[in-house]
């Protein structure tokens, strides 16, 4: 904050998107003061609607030059007030990567995409080649130079968009949720790239929801809420404020939660939390080891029993729902194969059965075939080999629109699902399609909308992204399907919205609905799914209870999936400290056991 020569400085900035003359409009930014020094790596986090994207727009000059509204205070980029210079001048200092990367692209070939900025800013033609190949190499995509952008994966496109900005050699790079659509491995690669960029002296400011990434890479984290910066500091300082973050609806890394819970239990003095698995391991080891030395010998005989007893008593080890036993599966996938015409992508030999009342997570890299699997389940794709039975209906012979009565899908992008003028019409629409009469449909829709607390009379398109997702979820809940498919239910949502979605889904499962969710967020999968299916290269590599699959290290490596932090911690503790830690998948489980071990000793 006390940098001598800040490259970017906000001086008491307020902004509202209101048109001139409108009074009392909500402020997207509210008295924000901030200074970022050259070469810093700053992360911005906060709940939806906190003003993060508006902050990015103010930094990159899009406010005041592109978006209309009322701006107070001053933004200085490289010492110049952004109101006094043109957007073109600002963008020579600040490069910004937009949230919607498809919209950012101006060319159809990677090379041309990079050339665009270089040509426009009049870079001498004899330097262009060096800049172009330099930017491609920094990002690690030199081999994609001649590729059509339309044929690239999401992660590759994201890298192209970063390279295109880097080629212009900005001094500041502003990115708005660059990893929202990416799997954990690609997200980490993007952040590694940003790290390389920072080593070249470029300031990086990144808006992001993935706390584990932020805590690992950033020098400084800003937490925003209601247009204000409410917390600012190093990752350790910020994630030490566990209670404030929880109240704001901001996630904390699981390892910080382990630390903070231990502090709350009085086992540790308050202080800066640990952030990595190895730090947490040595922390817990330091606590437990002295107490373990004497009493450990009594262990081995009773270990298995105690372990089982612990798991049965702990509410945190995912317990399979009782009604899953002995029932007929509601979804059967038998020897299914499918290939997209004209491309190599395919799935082979898929087998799975899902029982009523189960939550099954599907995990794997981008391109592993997860989305293809969901489309095979809801009948959008018909299997080329084998068969898919949903509620006894063979998807090859029953039209997709009839399967919809039994199997509802929540898509990653809610905007594809919404088409009506009011929230009430939208939610009732699904029921009407199934032949429920209009009055009855509205009555049922009304009940669900009330439960979700959504504005009934408003247009779905005027709502925030998180609320649109909730409308889409409401229209899934209202039809009371046998099976629910969720494709990345949490992407683009903040922590609180994410928890609301997942709790609703769990309730549906309790009511006997089978839930199948494709999800990149392993923490969510481990919290809510009792079984997982691990996919890679169009095949199912493994399936079984969540904790067991996540604990299978070779399997995780083969699928390029990183097990959740808590699982890795409990594995490490079980190996090095006490076998009792094995199989714990929740923060509270680790903390309770640690407390027990300490007091036992």
């Amino acid at each position: 904050m006390t940098d001598q020569n800040p490259i970017v400085r906000l001086d008491d900035v307020s902004f509202s998107y209101a048109q001139a003359g409108e009074k009392d409009a909500p402020r997207a930014l509210d008295h924000v003061s901030l200074s970022v020094g050259a070469g810093e790596f700053v992360g911005v986090i906060g709940p939806s609607g906190a003003g993060k994207s508006t902050l990015a727009a103010a930094l990159s000059g899009a406010i005041p030059h592109h978006y209309r509204g009322e701006l107070y205070g001053a933004v200085y980029v490289d010492g110049k007030d952004t109101c006094d210079v043109t957007l073109t001048d600002i963008s020579q200092v600040v490069g910004s990567v937009l949230q919607d990367i498809d919209a950012q692209m101006v060319a159809s070939v990677v090379e041309d995409e990079l050339l665009f900025g270089l040509e426009n800013f009049g870079v001498p033609h004899d330097q262009i080649e060096a800049r172009l190949s330099g930017a491609l190499e920094t990002v690690g995509i030199a081999d994609l130079r001649d590729r059509e952008i339309a044929t690239l994966s999401g992660g590759q496109k994201q890298k192209v968009s970063i390279a295109a900005i880097l080629a212009m050699r900005p001094r500041v790079l502003v990115l708005d949720e660059p990893t929202a659509a990416l799997d954990p491995a690609s997200s980490r690669l993007v952040f590694d790239t940003l790290c390389t960029v920072r080593e070249q002296g470029i300031t990086v400011i990144v808006i992001e929801q993935k706390v584990a990434l932020l805590s690992r890479y950033c020098d400084r984290i800003l937490v925003m809420d209601h247009g204000r910066i409410v917390l600012s500091g190093t990752p350790r300082q910020v994630f030490g404020h566990a209670r404030e973050l929880r109240e704001l609806g901001v996630d904390s890394p699981r390892m910080a939660r382990v630390h903070n819970s231990l502090v709350e239990k009085g086992l540790l003095p308050p202080g800066e939390p640990c952030l990595t698995v190895s730090e947490a391991e040595s922390l817990v080891e330091g606590l437990v080891r002295p107490h373990l030395a004497g009493g450990a010998q009594a262990g081995p005989v009773a270990d298995a029993q105690r372990d089982a007893a612990f798991r049965a008593s702990s509410p945190h080890a995912a317990v399979p729902r009782p009604h899953a036993e002995g029932a007929e599966p509601v979804v059967r996938v038998e020897g299914v194969g499918f290939a997209y015409p004209g491309s190599g992508a395919a799935v082979e030999d898929l087998n799975m059965a899902v029982y009523p009342g189960e939550v099954v997570g599907v995990v794997g890299q981008n391109g592993a075939g997860k989305t293809t699997l969901t489309k095979l389940l809801n009948g959008l794709l018909k299997p080329a080999v084998g068969q898919v039975l949903v509620s006894g209906l063979d998807t090859r012979h029953v039209p997709t629109s009839r399967i919809a009565a039994h199997c509802a899908t929540l898509f990653q992008n809610p905007d594809c699902q919404l088409c009506k003028n009011t929230v009430l019409d939208e939610v009732a629409f699904g029921l009407e399609l199934q032949g429920v009469d209009a009055d009855e449909a509205r009555r049922r829709a009304h009940k669900v909308i009330e439960r979700f607390g959504l504005p009934e009379g408003e247009s779905p398109f005027s709502l925030s992204r998180g609320q649109r997702q909730m409308v889409a979820l409401a229209s899934v809940v209202v039809v009371e399907p046998d099976v629910v498919l969720l494709d990345e239910p949490t992407s683009g949502l903040d922590y609180r919205e994410c928890m609301t979605v997942m709790r609703t889904v769990s309730e549906m499962a309790d009511a006997g609905c089978a839930v199948i969710m494709v999800c990149h967020d392993m923490e969510v999968v481990s919290d809510f799914a009792e079984r997982v299916v691990v996919m890679a290269d169009g095949r199912i590599l493994g399936r079984g209870p969540t904790a067991q699959e996540f604990a299978d290290e070779p399997l995780m490596r083969r699928a390029y999936v990183e097990a959740p932090q808590v699982t890795r911690l409990s594995q490490a503790l079980a190996r090095d400290l006490s076998p009792e830690y094995a199989g714990i998948s929740q923060v509270s489980g680790i903390v309770d056991l640690t407390g027990e071990l300490v007091s036992r000793g």
Binding site: H66, Q92, D102, L115, L380, A408, F411, D415
Partner: protein
């Protein structure tokens, strides 16, 4: 539609010509098609298009397009026969004169659409835009608008597809066999598509401006598009083709 206007990489002479020359070839074939009065010439022009496609390995693109165009051409043929009547009746309402003019109209439809697609599949859009700016002195903003519009076609196609799939999975009968019913169901979706398109276009404008769109001049392009001897030769051939079209 997604795969019809897509660049097919290659090293043939057709690929290496100046984009403006390629544009001229397409224009010459189209003009000749409009002027030609005999079946022989119309068929010959179509054959020329296909020969060029075979030479540049883009025949598959033309065949994809043909699958779309032939049904339209048949409908046109039937209608045209109903409107133009004269001479001897051949079959039902079709007369000799009607068949003659309808047949030519159909060949012209194919003859106009195919050369354009051929040209687009051997030229990168950016090259086309930059060459038009450099050689033809077209203002860059028009060239940019044109290439962006073409680039957005598959993007919007994918979006429409995603919307249709989502609606289908909710129970809207897009899988119905009745095309009119399907069209009626599709119309309400134009609004969400339009809303998201406007947002996307606005974001593109911002992104382009942030990368110096307004600084761009005719000399900005890194790649140069000089006209070579072979371009001149091809242009002469194009003129000859138009003359041939007018005469025959």
């Amino acid at each position: 539609m997604v795969s019809v206007i897509e660049y097919v990489p290659g090293e043939t002479l057709l690929h290496r010509l100046n984009p403006v020359t390629k544009l001229a070839i397409a224009a010459a074939i189209i003009v000749a098609t409009f002027c030609a009065q005999t079946y022989g010439m119309l068929v010959a022009l179509l054959a020329l298009t296909f020969a060029l496609a075979a030479y540049s390995h883009t025949t598959s693109k033309l065949v994809t397009l043909l699958k779309l165009l032939v049904p339209i051409a048949i409908v046109m043929l039937l209608l045209q026969c109903a409107f133009v009547r004269g001479g001897r009746t051949v079959l039902l309402w079709m007369t000799t004169e009607g068949l003659d003019s309808a047949g030519k109209a159909c060949l012209r439809l194919l003859g106009v659409a195919l050369p354009l697609v051929l040209m687009l599949s051997v030229t990168k859009l950016n090259d086309l835009a930059n060459a038009c700016v450099e050689v033809l002195h077209v203002p860059y903003r028009y060239a940019f608008t044109f290439t962006t519009a073409l680039r957005f076609v598959p993007v919007f196609g994918q979006q429409m597809n995603a919307i249709m799939e989502a609606q289908c999975a909710r129970g809207v009968e897009y899988d119905t066999k009745n095309p009119i019913r399907k069209l009626r169901l599709m119309l309400p979706l134009c609004v969400p598509l339009l809303v998201s398109s406007v947002g996307k276009t606005d974001a593109t404008a911002l992104a382009a401006e942030q990368r110096g769109f307004y600084l761009r001049t005719r000399a900005s392009s890194f790649k140069r598009y000089p006209m070579h001897g072979r371009d001149a030769a091809v242009l002469v051939a194009c003129v000859a083709l138009v003359v041939l079209g007018v005469l025959l």
